[in-house]
């Protein structure tokens, strides 16, 4: 069934979604995702997603930033054009700390944002889930759970039955 992207169940509240997500995951579905108008504590764990690698990216960014910052200053002041400035030594490290710090924060911060976007695969203006009409309330007051057709256990009729078992407001197909 290649023209179905998945099945989407709509829920009333975060509590329902949470419960549904946990059951779906327990019953062996893996290619699933949950959608909510605001972050819900523990929801991602419920669908079996534990490790976001954002902090690592930020750490890397910060280290690169620091190295760049200090390196630049050291190179400029002692190698590129050594100059006697106010009788201070060429390598006056205390003065170099500030720029180093700022560069650390800059690189770290940018790494955080772009890392997050990258890992989330954003920007992604087009996505099949938007085909579901009711999904527009996912950014307002509705909660959705989606099982994707890529899941080995996926099978339209069966999965629909399973989802309806979770007492959603509705279940709808997500066309490709």
């Amino acid at each position: 069934m290649s023209n179905v992207h998945g099945l989407m169940a709509e829920f009333e509240s975060s509590t329902d979604l949470m419960r549904a997500a946990e059951q779906t995951h327990k019953s062996g579905y893996r290619e699933i995702d949950a959608y909510s108008p605001f972050p819900i504590e523990g929801l991602s764990e419920a669908i079996g997603f534990h490790n976001d690698r954002v902090p690592l990216v930020v750490l890397a960014g910060g280290i690169i930033g620091a190295a760049t910052g200090y390196g630049l200053q050291y190179w400029v002041s002692t190698m590129a054009y050594p100059m006697n400035v106010g009788g201070r030594p060429l390598h006056s490290w205390p003065a170099f700390i500030i720029v180093t710090f700022e560069m650390t924060v800059l690189f770290g911060g940018l790494a955080a944002v772009f890392g997050m976007l990258g890992l989330n695969g954003l920007p992604e203006p087009y996505h099949p889930v938007f085909n579901v009409a009711r999904f527009e309330r996912a950014s307002e007051d509705r909660f959705f759970l989606c099982v994707f057709s890529s899941d080995p256990k996926f099978e339209v009729a069966g999965t629909r039955r399973f989802l309806e078992g979770l007492k959603p407001l509705s279940v709808s197909e997500v066309p490709e």
């Binding site: 054009y81 100059m83 006697n84 400035v85 106010g86 009788g87 201070r88 030594p89 006056s92 205390p94």
Partner: protein, 1012 residues
Amino acid sequence: MMMDPETKKQREDVCPGKKLELATVQAELAKVQGPEYWRSLEELAGSSEFREMMHREFPKGASEWVDAVSRRGFLRLMGASMALAGMTACTRQPVEPIVPYAKQPEEIIPGRPLFFATAMTLGGCAQPLLVESHMGRPTKAEGNPEHPAGLAGSDIFAQASLLDMYDPDRAQHPALLGDTRSWKAFSDAIRGPLASQKAVGGEGLRLLTPPVSSPTLADQLRALLQMFPKAKWHQYSPLHRDAVLGGAQMAFGQPVETQYRLEGADVVLSLDADFLAPTFPGALRLTRDFVARRNPDAAMNRLYVVETAPSPTGAKADHRLPLRAAEVEKFARALASALGISAGASTLSGEEAKWLATVVQELQAHHGASVVICGEHQPAAVHALAHAINERLGNAGRTVIYTETVHASPVDQTNSLRELVADMRAGKVEMLFILGGNPVYDAPADLDFASALKDSKIPVTVYHGLYENETAQLCPWFTHDAHYLEAWSDGRACDGTISVVQPLIAPLYEGRSVHELLAMMMGQGGVTGYEIVRDYWQKQNKAGDFEAAWRRALHDGFMAGTAYAPQAVTVKAANFGAAAADDSGLELNFRRDPCVLDGSLANNGWLQELPKPMSKMTWDNPAWIGPGMAQRLGLKSEDVVELELNGKKVRNAVWVQAGHADNAVTVFLGYGRRRAGRAGSGAGFDVYPLRTSDAPWRASGVKLSKTGDTYKLASTQGYQTIDTEVGAKPVMRAGSLEEYKQHPEFAQEMVEAPTPGLTLYPNVNYGKDPNFNALGYAWGMAIDQNSCVGCNACMVACVSENNIAVVGKEQVVRGRHMHWIRVDAYYQGDRANPSAYFQPVPCMQCENAPCELVCPVGATTHSTEGLNDMVYNRCIGTRYCSNNCPYKVRRFNFLLFQDFETPQLKMMRNPDVSVRSRGVMEKCTYCVQRINQARIESEKDDREIRDGEIQTACQQACPAGAIIFGNVNDKNSKVAKLKAQARNYSMLADLNTRPRTTYLAEVRNPNPELAG
């Protein structure tokens, strides 16, 4: 430059019918657009009519337009937009032309300056000079160290004369009633009348000149008078020394010049004589000899000064007694009587009596080794007394010598002018030649020369001068003079030595020297100034090889052995007139302005912007009053008062000057010029209307009344006392000889400097090091405050050497003057009679320079030889360096101060120094261009730079030798030795900036009798 109604009125009636209405201007400008518009606006702004119009239409804001700087503002707008356009194309340079000679004079090597010896005559006294010339353009004047009168160093007038020479406002062609004429037209015009005069023996021919010291000119005049036996030659200068000559006449029965030999004087008493100021005859020599005796480690002399208005001499005094000019005479008489000279009884009050007693005692104690100097503002009687006193003290022939006068035929100039005016009014004058001077502006008010000139319908009057000034206005014929750097002449130095004045450049505007004019009058048309001067001397020197002597004279700049020999004269006078009756009326004193003198230098921007020694005033001549009087009358500086003397009224701003005698006002001549030029016109107040022939220097019973107006004054030193609210600041250090003897390091220990170990970073080692400072030079400077007499020569020299811009009064008021070196004047103690100190402040070239640390782009960094380099083209103008400079020696181009348009000014500039544009910081560089030149030369012939080989401009100009520059790593260099002295201290040493410029603390030598 807000103008008081007085000047404004006069302004309008000097050029009647030439009024410009705003509407007309707008119409004018409507005709053109685009850049054209700005150009024509520029031309307009230059014209005097426009300036008047502006003053009529916008009395207040006018300055914005007329101000020397902002006047070019609009042009600059265009310039700036160009700059922006340029910036879009990164730093692309336009393709520049390069123009070689067609036929190159063989002595010229492109890029190398030549030096010529010449001389400048000012106030009848020739000052020998060496003038630097780049590719035929004179660029810098220096003193001539070879000259017998010991004239190393120079003064502000010599330095600033360069700007006069290039002054774009100078007259550029002869004129009849203001319309351009050719020289030929002029000579044709006078030929007829002269011929008819010749017929009547010159009955109606009159000449008016300033005093003449040029032998050639004197000879020409004699020749002329032989040709026209009945003609009369009158002399007048507002700064005449009638009283001095009168004194000599009274004392010796003959006019003699007095010269002082201060090297032999242990005690010096000045009776209102400002002999350390460059305006005093022979001041350079006097300064040198005086400071030679101020070394606290040798026999130090002691200076007593009795004066009315504070002067540099008073500032250097060990004891100063402020007295009204009239009381100075009383003092002199009392002194004379005390020494047993019958000078008429005169009594002094307690304090002054004690003072006098001490002085008498001192003078007698140093028989033959003292000197009493009398100021030219004192009446003849006092001069005579001074002669008598010097004789009585055995100084005559020792510390005081008498010679022939420098002036060719000395006369009582006031009388001379009086006679002329009488003849004019009597209609006896048919032909009047005014050769220089500016009598319409500066003649005594009671003679009313101007109206005499207007009323008496003289058929032919000719004014010959550098500027079309007030006098030229009233003389139908005007012929333009040649500047001394443009024409041949000669003159006598104050010791009589003859100098040849040789030109460095052909007249910029075909001006002709007075020699050539006289030749023309005597029908010797076509003869050149060179021929005139040379022929004269050839006649003088029949014997011997003239050619060689002449060449030598031109090379050396003077004729050796022509100094006057001392004359043996004895005081014949028995009575010295009666002491003037006491009068308690308010006394009015006239003084020449220390910068623009009688007004003849009023259009010299360098001098206008030069802070006057004591008040640090620029661009103005406020009337001085003492603090006590100010308090009584509730006056403060910048109040406008009205001075009334026998009917004549003059408005003037007030400056409360610490140390000024009480119950007296001092006004300064030379301001309120109406036709001086862009810089001079409208600046300050004209006080000549109060000056009469019988009271040229001192008048009594002047009425002073508050007007309630105020007037903005541009003093560069806002705060003049060294004691602040919370105590004396450790900036400037001085002590008494006693202190020094007991405790030589007193200055160093006034402030504790942190030990190097206290700082986080080790100090940079500026020793010889093949990988750092390969040649091992470490440049430094020592300034001896004991020697500095505050003459400001260093400032103008610096301006001239380093192409420093003139910014105009408006900008000075805003604190934006550009001087790289300044001479601070500090007052300490009782405001009525404080002790004053001078402190020249160039860049300190700190080893731990605070300015460098904070520059974001590294535009100011340290050279390996310890110079605090400033790279203008790298500077982006954050002004952080200036904020962080504790010495405040950095200067910022807040606007486009430099004139990039006027061709004359471009010719004047020193090609070895960048001309700074808008938005960049600048400061003293220790004349790095001179250092580099010397280093390159020394490297080429593989030797070390000799001590003294490099002289900074300020050092070279200093007549007192107070500034010493050199290599501090060389322990035998003069500067290193000075820095090793106990008196040596660093300004603000506690900041650990480690300045390369240090000071030798001032040591005064007060008399214990009077101390306390």
